[in-house]
């Protein structure tokens, strides 16, 4: 690689994180550490019914017997679960504010700074947002309009109070508490998150979105999201996340469950931009996330799109269980790692029903001293007649101190099912750089353009409102220019 390319790369790795500010606000926390009292405290703060507390405690007893899964290509010190706060809320947040006049102006200002205005006259057009600050949901926009259609979009805490029958039926139905240690942990201590129910035949007219912000120090965030799309309904949901710059690592272990009934479709997009740590690998979020969707009914469809640019560690495999005949699962992913970031991410497509189809497009870009792994499993069970999968995973290496790894698991037990898998790894193409620069683009612009082109198949799957943002984020993840 020539010296100029190296220079540009050097600039990139000095990338600045623009969401790294801290909101100075008093908060309320229980004691550090994880035990039954912590769970009771959370449950009490949330004013939960007893069955919910029991559910949490059961999960906790499972967690105590479990070990963290170790198979990922990740390197990090042992997590000390007793050195974490499991709940943090801005003071006086015992009840969710009724309207913005009850919300601390500092919070509103925080979200303005993050580009998520909450004031009615400024709210994002066409997007309903639920904003979560540390452990609590702060506000939900467009609530009334959604209610008219029978759509429930609220915090999970509120849903436990108001829609217990749905929670009892579906919570943990896709990700059992005892699935693995992070799902058990989340089930025991989850604080807030979003709940969505789309009634039969309703096409949700706007994007639903949750914005997660970790602010408090030494605090884990354990949100829980549950989305149910009833027969023939459609919803597109987007999740965004940021956190301040801190020298300590913070734990984020979310669980997201999706259920699509007959003929329903759920599109779930994530733009993950947690604080990735500094250029020496200090600080950053440990992101251990379990996301799983169940295509329960015939002709249902679940589509995951993720743009992963943040976190010190990413451990995340949004998956689809294709149970209903003719159901479809999709996974589109861009993962960019820089400096000392480590990402082990991919998907799992389990084909159970007949004529089920899945598609996986994964783009990994490694820079600096980072390690970027795609890990994906596609399995066809015995009854999955005429099932199909197409997988394409491409990796791009920029610089020679990083690593790009591809670990697919392909399992077929049905002789009418067809699986196709392609993968490639290469460096950024010098001929393309030369061509762009000959047309007058700077080296940095050229790299950014080519990388964005490399990711296009994935970025174009994002809802329109966010595609442009994501494109910028990809460039920022590469550039050193944004302060």
């Amino acid at each position: 690689m020539n010296s100029e390319t190296l220079n540009t790369l050097d600039n990139y790795s000095k990338n600045k994180y623009k969401y790294g500010f801290v909101t100075d606000i008093d908060n309320e926390k229980p004691k550090k550490g994880l035990n039954e009292d912590t769970i009771k405290f959370i449950s009490f703060k949330k004013n939960e019914p007893e069955w919910m507390l029991d559910w949490r405690l059961k999960a906790f007893s499972k967690w105590k017997k479990m070990k963290e899964p170790k198979w990922a290509n990740l390197n990090f010190p042992e997590i000390d679960y007793q050195d974490i706060y499991y709940y943090s809320a801005p003071k006086g947040f015992d009840k969710k504010p009724k309207d913005l006049s009850e919300v601390d102006p500092k919070l509103i200002e925080t979200y303005n700074k993050l580009g998520i205005p909450l004031e009615e006259q400024k709210v994002l057009a066409g997007v309903a947002v639920d904003v979560v600050f540390d452990s609590v949901s702060v506000a939900t926009t467009y609530k009334g309009e959604l209610e008219k259609l029978g759509i429930i979009f609220c915090s999970i805490g509120e849903a436990i109070q108001k829609h217990p029958h749905l929670i009892k039926k579906y919570l943990g139905s896709v990700i059992p508490a005892g699935d693995h240690s992070f799902s058990a942990l989340n089930s025991a201590v989850f604080t807030d998150g979003s709940f969505v129910y789309i009634p039969e035949g309703v096409k949700c007219p706007m994007e639903l979105s949750t914005y997660f912000r970790i602010n408090a120090e030494n605090t884990g965030q354990f949100e829980r999201t549950l989305i149910i799309a009833d027969k023939g309904s459609y919803v597109s949901y987007l999740e965004g996340c940021t956190a301040p710059k801190r020298d300590d690592n913070q734990l984020h272990a979310a669980n997201v469950e999706l259920i699509a009934l007959e003929d329903a479709e759920i599109k779930y997009s994530t733009v993950q931009n947690w604080y990735p740590g500094d250029e020496d690998g200090k600080g950053g979020i440990y992101n251990f996330v379990t996301k799983r969707g169940l295509c329960a009914g015939k002709n249902s469809k679940i589509s995951w799109t993720q743009v992963e640019t943040g976190s010190a560690i990413t451990w995340k495999y949004p998956s689809c269980i294709l149970k209903g005949d003719n159901s479809i699962g999709e996974f589109y992913s861009v993962a960019i790692t820089n400096n000392f970031q480590q990402a082990d991410t991919g998907t799992k497509m389990t084909h159970i029903g007949k004529n089920t189809k899945s598609k996986i497009i994964s783009k990994g870009i490694s820079l600096g001293k980072s390690q970027n792994t795609y890990r994906g499993e596609v399995s066809f069970l015995r009854k999955a007649d005429r099932a199909r999968n197409y997988t394409q995973c491409d990796s791009l290496l920029v610089g020679n101190k990083c690593g790009a790894h591809t670990v697919p698991y392909i399992d077929s037990k049905n002789n009418t099912a067809v699986i196709e898998h392609e993968a490639s790894t290469s460096k950024i193409n010098e001929d393309q750089l030369y061509y762009c620069r000959q047309r007058g683009l700077s080296h940095e612009e050229a790299v950014s353009l080519i990388v964005n082109g490399f990711c296009k198949q994935v970025l174009q799957e994002l809802p329109m409102e966010f595609a442009v943002e994501a494109q910028k984020l990809v460039s920022i993840s590469l550039e050193g220019s944004v302060g």
């Binding site: 020539n2 100029e4 193409n429 001929d431 393309q432 030369y434 061509y435 762009c436 620069r437 000959q438 047309r439 007058g440 683009l441 700077s442 080296h443 612009e445 050229a446 353009l449 080519i450 964005n452 082109g453 490399f454 990711c455 296009k456 198949q457």
Partner: protein, 246 residues
């Protein structure tokens, strides 16, 4: 002098490609360089554009009062040098329109001109494309991706007409074109030609020179220019080949 190449020697991977090459081009002139395969024609084009694989052994190049070696690839482009590539590379996922839009604005920025906005650019692109008989649908595609050989060349000329260079280097632009495509491409070049810009046309065959009339023809063999003259030389080569120059 507009472009002045003096005693240029260049090597790549221990192989001397250009040997004490001299060439002067004035404003408003069209020059053609002809030569057999491996004579160093494409190397010359790439050295002018600033490709980094080459080692300059000696010599100098002045371009519009600049020492060319002081400028990197994009600075040369912004100064008005354009290379129409022999094999334009595919860049999947990078849409043609924003790509060219960034390119033209980089140039305008350097020239301290006002940047062109989305709308006016789209208009400009459309009109230039229709001049060259390029389907509007093609402008929605990724740079060179999935283009036929002829489409790639035509698209190079479209870029040239948008960027309006002072010096355009056409590296074997005629290769792989059928007669119809060749006409469209050369037509585009002829339309662009003014008294203020210059062309350096690199070619293998005389055919291209039936459509674009050069002021000077140079014969390049073994890394040096061995003969220069008027377009009659081209006819000479067509009849007798390069043999007698070697």
């Amino acid at each position: 002098m507009f472009l002045e190449i003096k005693d240029l020697s260049v090597k790549i991977e221990n192989k001397n490609i250009l040997k004490n090459l001299n060439l002067n081009i004035n404003k408003g002139e069209v020059h053609a360089i002809m030569g057999p395969n491996g004579s160093g024609k494409s190397t010359l084009a790439n050295v002018l554009a600033g490709k980094e694989d080459y080692e300059i052994l000696n010599g100098k190049i002045n371009f519009k009062e600049n020492n060319l070696f002081d400028l990197n690839i994009e600075e040369r482009a912004q100064e008005g040098m354009f290379l129409a590539f022999q094999y334009p590379v595919e860049i999947p996922g990078v849409n043609i329109t924003p790509f060219l839009h960034s390119a033209i604005n980089s140039k305008r920025k350097r020239m301290k001109e006002e940047e062109i906005d989305n709308l006016s650019f789209a208009k400009l692109l459309k009109s230039k494309a229709s001049d060259l008989g390029i389907n509007i649908d093609m402008l929605k595609r990724s740079v060179n991706t999935g283009f036929s050989g002829g489409e790639k060349k035509r698209y190079e000329i479209l870029q040239m007409s948008i960027l309006n260079p002072d010096l355009a280097i056409l590296d074997e632009t005629d290769s792989g074109l059928d007669i119809d495509a060749l006409k469209i491409v050369t037509d585009g070049v002829n339309k662009l030609k003014t008294k203020d810009n210059s062309f350096l046309i690199i070619t293998h065959y005389q055919k291209l020179l039936d459509y674009i009339k050069p002021d000077y023809v140079h014969v390049m063999v073994n890394g040096s220019i061995v003969k220069s003259g008027s377009s009659e030389i081209a006819a000479e080569i067509e009849n007798d080949g390069f043999q007698k120059f070697q």
